[in-house]
């Protein structure tokens, strides 16, 4: 058990900077997920923690030890690879026992621990098999078994589920969650799948182009994305972004768009004041749009020309055009809508986000209204 700390870590491959000045603290026993599109540097960070890549600048600490110059074998970590990396010439038993044998653990102890791990992972009847005789899910379990049997300070997972089919992935995801709940070992988990990130992580670190964008709990990433990238990356279908200009009307701040106008509530307006007169982006998630009541044509209504209708059974995803910008909405499946229809949508007033167009940073989240209301309530109570 140990903390993992990255201090201003940079990794350069020749002239290419893969990881830029990343600082991150993974608490003891925490499940931290690194997520981002391919090439964002998440795997490089994991490999640096493992000791498979050298750190160009900065420090990596595991527990209270600076490990920059410690070889992988002495870092007391275990890693699960995307393609499992099982030793093909060894049986499942030997694969799991290999690390213990190298550490000269006594034979009976090895046997006990291998069997215990195999039992826990449901592969006890496969111990004599060779990896090529196993299915993808079983190989995955062996790879996990090889990691947990050593009882290391830190688990590292490099996209461990991406080679499994969709159904098995969901099952293994749940198993990994359960496993962590049982073992409580500090874990760093890399994935490009935001659903995996949200379901597994205590906290999620979002990366893009080697730069850490935001680290927070899944719910806070969803509610309070720090910038346009995080807002668009977390959540599916992705958040809608509507260009607007921040102006003042009747003493109130408004985000004025092509055919809509959002008034910024006074309680949170001070945050936006500095951006008066600048171009902004209004963010609204598809699930926070509903069809407007007939005849309701307030200034914050969005009227789209429907282009795509995707009935998913449990919900209806509609994509349409709003003055040249694509807008998606996640609606009730009972709604009758066809391609070519005009559809007026009404956003939930506390679910809007406002970003600065130039820096792409978040200016404010209307969600803060709910927070403030809750705080108020608690204070009164």
């Amino acid at each position: 058990m140990a903390k993992v700390v990255l201090k201003n870590v940079t990794k350069r491959f020749g002239s290419l900077t893969a990881v830029r000045n990343v600082s991150l603290e993974v608490e003891d026993g925490e499940f931290m997920v690194l997520v981002g599109p391919s090439g964002c540097g998440k795997t490089t960070i994991l490999r640096m923690i493992a000791g498979l890549e050298e750190v160009t600048e900065g420090e990596i600490w595991i527990g209270d030890r600076l490990v920059n110059d410690v070889p992988p074998k002495d870092r007391d970590i275990a890693m699960v690879f995307q393609n499992y990396a099982l030793y093909p010439h060894m049986t499942v038993y030997d694969n799991i026992a290999f690390g213990l044998k190298l550490r000269r653990v006594p034979k009976p102890e090895i046997d006990r621990r291998v069997r215990q791990a195999a039992e826990m992972l449901g592969i006890a009847d496969k111990l004599r098999a060779k990896p090529r005789e196993l299915s993808g899910g079983q190989r995955q379990r062996v790879a996990v078994g090889r990691a947990i049997v050593r009882n290391p300070k830190v688990f590292l997972f490099d996209e461990p589920l991406s080679n499994l089919d969709a159904k098995l992935r969901v099952k293994m995801r749940a198993e990994l969650q359960e496993l962590h709940h049982r073992l409580k070992t500090t874990t760093v988990y890399v994935t490009h799948d935001q659903v995996e990130a949200m379901t597994l992580g205590h906290r999620v670190a979002v990366l893009n182009h080697g730069v850490l964008q935001q680290v927070d709990t899944p719910q806070r990433l969803y509610d309070f994305p720090a910038n346009v990238f995080v807002a668009g990356f977390i959540g599916s279908p992705a958040m809608n972004f509507l260009p607007a200009k921040l102006t003042e009307t009747n003493g109130q701040l408004v985000a004025q768009g092509s055919s809509f106008r959002f008034t910024i509530p006074e309680a949170i307006a001070p945050k936006a004041e500095g951006f008066l007169g600048r171009d902004v982006v209004v963010g609204i998630r598809p699930e926070h749009l509903q069809p407007a009541e007939p005849g309701d044509d307030g200034p914050d209504r969005l009227t789209i020309a429907v282009k795509v209708v995707e009935p998913l059974g449990s919900e209806l995803i509609v994509y349409g055009d709003l003055d040249g910008v694509e807008v998606g909405a996640r609606l009730d499946p009972s709604l009758r809508v066809q391609v070519g229809d005009k559809l007026t949508l009404s956003p939930q007033p506390t679910k809007l986000h406002l970003f600065d167009k130039e820096s792409e940073r978040a200016i404010l989240h209307f969600q803060e209204l709910e927070e403030k209301a809750r705080e108020e309530k608690e204070r009164v109570a």
């Binding site: 493992a50 000791g51 498979l52 070889p71 992988p72 074998k73 870092r75 970590i77 275990a78 890693m79 690879f81 995307q82 393609n83 990396a85 099982l86 030793y87 093909p88 010439h89 290999f98 690390g99 190298l102 550490r103 090889r146 050593r150």
Partner: protein, 315 residues
């Protein structure tokens, strides 16, 4: 389309005919000849069939010329006469030393060069001697090993170096049995290590890098990674390269022929065979040596073919 049962044979027939004519027939004839003595240059199958027994001729002290049936006498000579005994001993020596050094060195270089920046340059350099004919290589190395009595300046590179360092020159190619035999083997190793290196390096690069990294994270040091992951993974390739090298080594001829012609206890079977054949016109004994070589090579060929079939079966 309907295929008649004999149609496949039609396609195979030309190859079978050519092989039969150039391989099977000569092999049979060689085996047959190995049981005769005094075979003249122009012999016929009829002569051989009508040939009297050698022992009978000798007993009668008969003046009759022409081939005689010797039974296993030629084989007996190979294993009892000093010159062929030396050849047999040297072939075993070559087999052990050359095969293990070429494969071992090739494997070591394959793993080490993988971590070097100028890998392809180094590999090409080591592979280069393969392009030189063995006769050419023999001549080059004859210069390397050249020896003159200490009162003269040394023209051989190795001895020149020794003299420059204040040592006495060594007669590399005449000092029997270790120095000269190892000197000859060094030439063979110089030529063939590149071949082993290239094949083993390709196999090494085929190993999934994650496998090596997984072992390192599991706690293995570099030697343990090599011993427990690289070596078992390369096992089948090593077997193929080693058996191939064994066959090449058993057949060694050119280098010995050019550099010492088998003198000073450097004889090998192939050179002994050549001498018996073309210097002494001793067809029977030469054929017997050929058969011994063939039988010695056979098991390694079988191993290679078996492995090949196994691979096919896996596919």
């Amino acid at each position: 389309m309907r295929t008649r049962p004999w149609t496949p044979w039609l396609y195979v027939a030309p190859a079978l005919l050519v092989l039969g004519f150039y391989l099977v027939y000569p092999a049979m004839v060689t085996i047959a000849l190995s049981f005769y003595e005094r075979v003249p240059i122009q012999w016929s199958l009829g002569d051989l069939l009508r040939a009297p027994s050698c022992s009978a001729l000798k007993a009668e002290n008969s003046p009759q010329r022409g081939p005689c049936f010797a039974g296993l006498a030629n084989y007996e000579r190979i294993f009892t006469e000093r010159s062929t005994q030396i050849a047999l001993r040297n072939n075993v020596l070559w087999l052990i030393v050359v095969t293990s050094v070429t494969v071992g060195l090739g494997l070591m270089l394959a793993v080490l060069l993988d971590r070097v920046r100028y890998e392809s340059l180094a590999k090409s350099t080591i592979f280069m001697p393969m392009a030189i004919s063995f006769v050419g290589a023999g001549i080059i190395w004859k210069f390397m090993y050249a020896y003159r009595p200490p009162i003269y300046p040394q023209i051989g590179l190795l001895n020149a170096l020794r003299v420059a360092l204040g040592e006495a020159p060594i007669a590399w190619l005449t000092q029997a049995p270790w120095v000269n035999n190892l000197a000859l083997m060094a030439v063979f190793i110089w030529i063939w290590t590149g071949y082993c290196l290239v094949i083993l390096s390709a196999a090494y690069k085929g190993i999934d890098r994650d496998l090596l990294e997984a072992a390192r994270i599991d706690g293995a040091n570099e030697w343990q990674v090599f011993r427990h992951v690289v070596l078992p993974t390369l096992r089948s390739t090593i077997v193929v390269v080693a058996t191939t090298m064994t066959v090449f080594t058993l057949k060694v001829f050119d280098i010995v022929y050019v550099m010492t012609n088998g003198n000073y206890e450097t004889e090998v079977l192939a050179n002994a065979m050549y001498k018996q054949m073309y210097s002494f016109w001793n067809f029977g004994l030469a054929s017997a040596i050929a058969v011994v070589l063939f039988v010695a090579v056979l098991p390694f060929i079988v191993i290679n073919i078996r492995r090949f079939l196994e691979q096919e079966a896996v596919r």
